[in-house]
């Protein structure tokens, strides 16, 4: 394993540890500390994938998360394969499998390349202009073409099995969050740390130091130390402060309101399988609330936009340096430099210093600095001033470039000459990495010298330092970082004194002298020029120009029409170039063009990591009652009710759900049934104005309810619609126990607090929720009294003595219980409330006591059935937010004479007071065996006419009643209350409507049991 592009003695990799992995099945050798990119490059591989639209070969361009298109698919396990992984950020380890993506059958021979052949017919937005079908060939429309387009689009492949890995999110508060650990960030963190502040330093890369790791170690000293030693010293200093947290492999992905910053830490992907700690998540989201933030995210190099600039082998000049110094890889044997600024010259010097060959420096500028030219001369590097690369050659990797000199107007002059090279290192300048600053809603300003945007006005508690602030000289970068660290600590209320800055000595090129050239002339007509701006989405300069000409000229329209910057890299290296080209096309300046919006995330974030630990079994609490385990043991069928899980029925072995419900419902009326009613909301209400309060929140009258008694109440919203119901008991003159629906418990309490605190603060009332203080077993049926009597002491349970709608205190096994004689079934019923911790005991005692009497536990389905037999409503089933008490024909529950109550005024609005509204009725199908579908619509004719069919209403509830031996249904029917005895029809899909008779909804009538 020769690694022919590895440079001896250079790089911060561990040469003692070889690591190999596979790329498209071939074994590739590298070292610990390599990324896939650096290892591929070390082996002379530069092409890794195909572009999105034209399937053109794509190679490695950047050295970090700025790379636009060098992405692979990792792994082949259907559960854990990862698409779209950037080779420049993925560290290698044994067992890693990488595969090129978006190509078929192979990377080098891809049929999708046909798109490339026809590229001229596929300009920006071409799909808007075709595929819409024509008058003659309607079928030639999008539905016909879309499947093909879809298959060609997309990049990698999603896993097809659930993710085996876990994720988590954690919260942190800190005083100073420093983002980026280059020289600026390190200086900031060190200075802030001295104050004793809580500091978090985050670095996206695998090591601290940022661009210092990409600098020639022999050319620069900081405070007399080589860069690597300085980094070590800084790191050691940080480690001295217990309040400092340093996170590497962690990207700040989102800067949100109020200094809330999201970080994503890649915990284990860089490790081989056997070294991954099972106890650790794959990735972790840090949710950081920072008092102050220091942005030290560096600058991102931008390429030049020139003809045929997208071939593999064309790389950012800075990336070439990074691979050289960081990874000990010189990505080409013969490197041509192409630039409009000084910084790329450094690449030439570094290559020479490392013993590499430089094919020349092609510089667009006319004026070149003398010192630089001299250095080049000394290094034996040919310099071509005022020259442009006008084309390149080489199929899967460039082999040569064509250059032409430029005239005074910047046009191509004279003939093309060919320079052989296998790598072109380009630089079009540096863009301060302002993404997070912009996300924080700071305002950018245009910097003419950089020809780029830099931070202008801050909005949140942050400050930028170093290259992200447009400061490029190392000495100043350090000074700015230190200052930012101190200021941030002080702004977070810490005191700290400045210390002396280390001196920087460097022979590195620090000047820029940039002359912006947004599109390098090619001497060819526009349509013949393939000058790419966005290498991922295949956006060419000509696309931007065409969009502008067509009228999609605002920056946002151009972006959307061409998809510029809409790929996974979000245009990190390409956007500013694109803005420049748009500006030229429109004849205005770049700041006048403006920017598109920098949105979160800075870099794509794993969806699973955002979900964190709150997935699978941890998604939502499974709320259960104290008797829940008992229900589970009985193998009950459950249903989710909000976040509760309630037993729906208890089928016996071999029994169907339907039969179980029938059996349970029958038992409740013939012997005895028992329901776990714990989940009902319960509110303890106390105060001398409690009655007045109830009188205002319920529709009926409460002033005269005597202690010991209970009453049913309906609650409305101010819009007059029924929102909740329940029974409230008067415990004492100033003390009530309210129950609400299971689902309404939380919202009713909020609503009551709201009215008390904001509308009626003069009322002397306290509210406390006691929902889970009590476990509730509701025993009903002819044998209920006997059963309850054998468990509850201290109460005469005889219905004569303990009448319906009263309550009494007693004990069970010496434990105080409160028994309510309320009924949701119509049967004689005892709702026994016991402190929750005794719930399971009570339940089992009742089961045991009831056994000789045929006591049958019943679930919510039988409960629904039983209450429907008696015509009791369920809020949320009979009602849907559009139903008034009158619609329910429950006017009896609305006090006409008392004063105001919530929602009262709405009941007299013209529409609400109409007499032809839908009203609740009972329905008896003529065929008593037929149980209509809940939700079925009711129509007025025996045959279903063609749509639209006038609908009279719908079935809200329907059951087969075992106690009546036939089906029963409740329904909302237009003018229902006035149509007793009339026949309506229940519409059915694909079948004749079923006739049914409108009846009162108390199916059992007063013949059975108790009613309110």
């Amino acid at each position: 394993m020769s690694q022919p592009y590895r440079v001896p003695g250079r790089g911060l990799i561990n040469r003692d540890r070889s690591v190999s992995f596979t790329f498209d099945g071939r074994e590739i050798a590298g070292y610990e500390g390599d990324t896939i990119a650096s290892a591929l490059l070390a082996n002379g591989e530069i092409m890794v994938g195909r572009s999105f639209k034209y399937h053109r070969p794509r190679g490695i361009v950047g050295a970090g998360s700025d790379d636009p298109a060098a992405m692979v698919q990792i792994g082949s396990d259907p559960a854990s394969t990862d698409p779209n992984v950037m080779v420049t950020t993925r560290e290698i380890h044994a067992g890693l499998e990488a595969r090129s993506q978006n190509c078929w059958p192979s990377l080098k021979y891809d049929v999708g390349v046909l798109n490339d052949v026809f590229m001229r017919f596929f300009p920006a937005g071409f799909y808007y202009k075709t595929f819409m079908g024509s008058d003659r060939f309607r079928w030639l429309n999008w539905m016909t073409f879309e499947p093909f387009i879809r298959r060609a689009a997309g990049l990698g492949k999603a896993p097809t099995r659930p993710d085996p890995d876990s994720y988590e999110s954690v919260n942190r508060h800190c005083d100073v969050l420093v983002i980026g650990a280059g020289p600026a960030g390190l200086a900031a963190a060190a200075n802030a740390a001295r104050s004793g502040a809580r500091v978090i330093l985050v670095e996206e890369g695998d090591r601290l130091g940022g661009s210092l790791n990409a600098t020639d170690p022999d050319g620069t000293t900081i405070g007399g130390k080589a860069p690597a030693d300085w980094i070590v010293a800084q790191t050691a200093k940080l480690a001295e402060h217990p309040e400092v947290t340093v996170l590497t492999r962690t990207t700040a992905f989102g800067y949100y309101a109020m200094n809330f910053v999201g970080l994503i830490e890649r915990v284990k992907d860089h490790l081989p399988e056997h070294r991954r700690d099972r106890r650790q998540p794959r990735q972790r989201v840090w949710r950081v609330r920072a008092k102050q933030v220091v942005l030290a995210t560096g600058a991102i190099e931008r390429p030049l936009v020139f003809n045929e600039n997208d071939r593999p082998g064309i790389m950012l000049a800075g990336a070439v340096r990074t691979f050289l110094h960081r990874h000990g890889v010189l990505a080409g044997k013969r490197v041509l430099i192409f630039t409009n600024n000084d910084s790329a010259w450094q690449t030439a010097f570094d290559i020479r210093a490392a013993g590499g060959e430089v094919a020349g420096i092609v510089d667009l500028r006319r004026e070149l600095s003398e010192t630089m030219a001299l250095r080049a001369l000394k290094a034996g590097i040919a310099v071509h001033p005022r020259t442009a690369i006008v084309g390149t050659h080489g199929r899967h990797r460039i082999d040569s470039a064509f250059v032409s000199s430029l005239d005074d107007d910047g046009n191509v002059r004279g003939s093309r000459s060919r320079i052989e090279c296998d790598l072109i290192a380009v630089s079009g300048g540096w863009n301060p990495n302002v993404a997070l600053f912009a996300q924080s809603r700071g305002k950018l300003k245009w910097d003419a010298e950089l020809a780029s945007f830099r931070p202008g006005l801050s909005w949140q508690q942050e400050r930028s330092a170093g290259a992200c602030n447009g400061t490029m000289e190392l000495q100043e970068v350090l000074a700015e970082g230190s200052k930012a660290g101190l200021e941030a600590a002080r702004a977070a209320d810490f005191t700290v004194r400045a210390v002396k800055q280390p001196e920087v000595e460097t022979d590195a090129v620090q000047s820029l002298n940039l002359v912006p050239v947004w599109q390098v002339p090619s001497g060819l007509p526009r349509e013949k020029t393939k000058a790419f701006v966005d290498l991922q989405d295949d956006v060419k300069a000509s696309d931007l120009q065409l969009a502008t000409e067509e009228g999609y000229d605002s920056v946002e329209h151009t972006k959307r029409y061409t998809t510029q910057g809409m790929g996974t890299d979000q245009g990190k290296i390409s956007n500013v170039n694109a803005f420049g080209i748009m500006a030229e096309a429109r004849g205005i300046t770049v700041p006048e063009v403006g920017t598109t919006t920098f949105r979160q995330p800075y870099r794509p974030v794993t969806i699973g990591a955002l979900g964190g630990q709150h997935v699978g079994p941890h998604f939502m609490p499974r709320r259960g009652t104290p008797m829940h385990a008992w229900h589970l043991e009985q193998k009950a069928i459950f249903e989710p009710v909000g976040d509760w899980l309630r037993a729906r029925a208890y089928p016996k072995p071999g029994e169907s759900f339907h039969d179980a419900v029938q059996r349970e419902a029958k038992a409740a009326r013939t012997t005895a049934g028992m329901l776990d009613a714990t989940t009902l909301g319960k509110i303890d209400i106390r105060g001398k104005d409690a009655r007045t309060f109830l009188n205002r929140v319920y529709t009926n009258a409460w002033l005269k309810l005597a202690p010991g008694r209970c009453r049913y109440g309906l609650m409305l919203g101010e819009d007059g619609m029924v929102s909740d119901d329940g029974v409230t008991a008067c415990i004492a003159d100033d003390h009530f126990h309210m129950t609400t629906t299971t689902g309404g418990a939380a919202s009713v309490l909020q609503k009551l607090e709201d009215y008390l605190q904001t509308e009626w603060p003069d009322l002397d009332v306290w509210l406390t929720t006691v929902t889970e203080q009590w476990a509730v077993a509701a025993v009903c049926g002819p044998k209920a009294e006997e059963i309850v009597a054998s468990v509850v002491d201290g109460i005469d349970l005889d219905p004569e003595e303990f009448p319906f709608m009263t309550w009494q205190d007693g004990t069970a096994g010496g434990i105080p219980v409160r028994v309510f004689r309320v009924s949701f079934t119509g049967e004689t019923s005892y709702e026994i409330n016991i402190p929750a911790t005794y719930g399971r005991w009570l339940w089992e005692e009742l089961i045991a006591a009831g056994k000789p009497h045929g006591l049958t536990p019943y679930g919510t389905e039988a409960m629904h059935l039983l209450r429907a037999e008696k015509g009791f409503i369920i809020v949320g089933q009979e009602t849907d937010g559009t139903v008034t008490p009158g619609d329910l024909r429950m006017d009896w529950a609305v006090a006409k004479k008392k004063g105001d109550f919530i929602g009262k005024r709405s009941l007299s609005r013209s529409d609400t007071a109409r007499d032809d509204r839908k009203q609740l009725v009972g329905l008896l199908t003529i065929d008593g065996d037929h149980v209509p579908m809940e939700g079925a619509q009711i129509i007025g004719t025996a045959e279903e006419p063609a749509p639209p069919v006038p609908m009279l209403g719908h079935v809200t509830s329907a059951y087969f009643s075992p106690n009546l031996g036939r089906s029963i249904a409740m329904a909302m029917v237009r003018r229902g209350g006035q149509r007793m005895g009339e026949t309506v029809w229940i519409a059915r899909l694909g079948d004749k409507p079923v006739p049914a008779k409108i009846v009162h909804y108390d199916f059992l009538g007063d013949a059975v049991g108790e009613s309110a």
Binding site: R120, F121, T130, Q570, I607, L610, E639, H954
Partner: protein, 416 residues
């Protein structure tokens, strides 16, 4: 207007794409128009298009404070369906759906209308009941809609997890096969191009700052580019509906909330339809480009910042994991927010107002994209005739006074 076609593409391709027409002009505002539409979103542009095309009102302008399509039209998850519960809603959304079907061809602009089918999932008894009620109402209203049990759901959309041991298992769902998604920008541009060709002036970067009245009647508008006289002003400003109405001291029952959406990185086809779920708050589809397009929930508070918060996204992703654990390793590429104008009954306002000549179309909240052509169509009718037609009438503002709400919470609860 040069017609678009494959042939034209080839011709232009050979000629270096030099001969395309501008999609729309960049006119200077005229001193007066017969009507002015405020808001260059899908609804506003559709309104203008139908006013010009069907009512011959071509001396009109669309005034847009930013770039057309920059509001919710450019931010939505493009879910199209018409399976609403009440007759009034079914009428308007189905009207829209029918218009969508031929719209690309009518506008001569490919809006990439993809009728991939929309699944609405049910996870408990209550939802089943509600959804079945909707399916039945839809059927009788002539809206295509069918009930699928959990297995059928899985057959239709193989990437969904219907396992019984998730927190809220999928018990079934409804399917509207004619529902689907389209390309939001394409719709906006298609309408703009067609309206422009009919003579409508599209005035971008022009903000309406005031509405002029005399004796209770509209006489014109103030804009950041001067005064424009007109007897008819129609606000179609979505998130800013209240701001417009407040200019005339009209208060509306509307609150503006941030609503977020996000896209994943593009991947090869993995999700073949639109999936929406209420209990496990998810709505998701895959775009032609390959990204998963995922809608999040609204932030509770009102806000005009066009941004939302991370916690909403986190919860959204956890929910997505319930139904699509296979998406866990994919990555969120971009998230953004819109400002949605929510009405208390989750239905829109298409209405005259107490000020003669001032019309409001808004309150579409989280779900107005699907209505775009229908809304524009009936609103144009209202503006031209000064009377709402049968479809628009139920959505007049006075329903909040009379109580005749069109309470579509069940059908609209998941933001979409």
């Amino acid at each position: 207007m040069k017609r678009y076609s494959a042939l034209e593409l080839i011709r232009q391709g050979l000629g270096g794409h030099r001969g395309w027409d501008r999609v729309w002009r960049k006119p200077e505002p005229k001193p007066s128009y017969d009507a002015v539409i405020i808001g260059g979103g899908g609804h506003g542009l559709a309104t203008a298009y139908y006013l010009a095309k069907l009512h011959g009102m071509t001396n009109i302008a669309v005034v847009e404070k930013g770039w057309i399509g920059g509001g919710n039209s450019g931010r939505n998850t493009t879910i199209i369906r018409s399976n609403y519960l009440f007759d009034e809603s079914a009428a308007i959304y189905n009207h829209a759906l029918n218009l969508w079907k031929g719209l690309g061809q009518e506008l001569n602009f490919n809006i990439m209308m993809s009728h991939r089918g929309v699944l609405n999932l049910a996870h408990d008894e209550g939802e089943m009941r509600q959804l079945k009620r909707r399916v039945e109402a839809n059927r009788l209203n002539g809206v295509d809609s069918e009930w699928l049990d959990a297995k059928e759901v899985k057959n239709f959309c193989p990437s969904i997890n219907i396992s019984g041991d998730i927190r809220y298992p999928v018990l079934g769902g409804t399917l509207q096969r004619s529902g689907g998604v389209n390309r939001h920008d394409g719709v906006v541009w298609g309408y703009a191009r067609a309206a422009d060709a009919l003579g409508v002036d599209i005035l971008q970067q022009t903000e309406v700052t005031g509405i002029l009245t005399e004796a209770g009647e509209v006489t014109g508008i103030e804009t950041t580019r001067g005064t424009i006289r007109t007897p008819k002003v129609a606000s179609v400003t979505a998130g800013h509906t209240s701001v417009m109405a407040n200019m005339l001291d009209i208060r509306l029952p509307v609150e503006s909330h941030p609503l977020q959406a996000l896209v994943s990185e593009p991947i090869k086809p993995i999700l073949n339809c639109v999936v929406m779920s209420n209990a496990v708050h998810v709505y998701c589809s895959q775009s032609d480009k390959g990204e998963l397009v995922i809608g999040a929930g609204i932030d509770a508070q009102l806000s005009y910042t066009q941004r939302g918060n991370l916690d909403i996204i986190e919860h959204q992703m956890a929910s997505l994991m319930e139904l699509f654990p296979i998406f866990s390793r994919l990555r969120m590429m971009r998230q953004w927010g819109g400002i949605v104008d929510v009405c208390p009954d989750a239905s829109p306002i298409i209405s005259k107002t107490p000020v003669k000549g001032f019309y409001v179309n808004g309150g579409w909240g989280t779900g107005g994209w699907k209505a775009t052509p229908g809304s524009g169509h009936v609103f144009a009718d209202l503006i031209a005739k000064d009377e709402p037609n049968r479809i628009a009438a139920p959505f007049a503002i006075d329903r909040f006074t009379t109580g005749a709400l069109v309470a579509e919470h069940g059908a609209a609860a998941v933001a979409h």
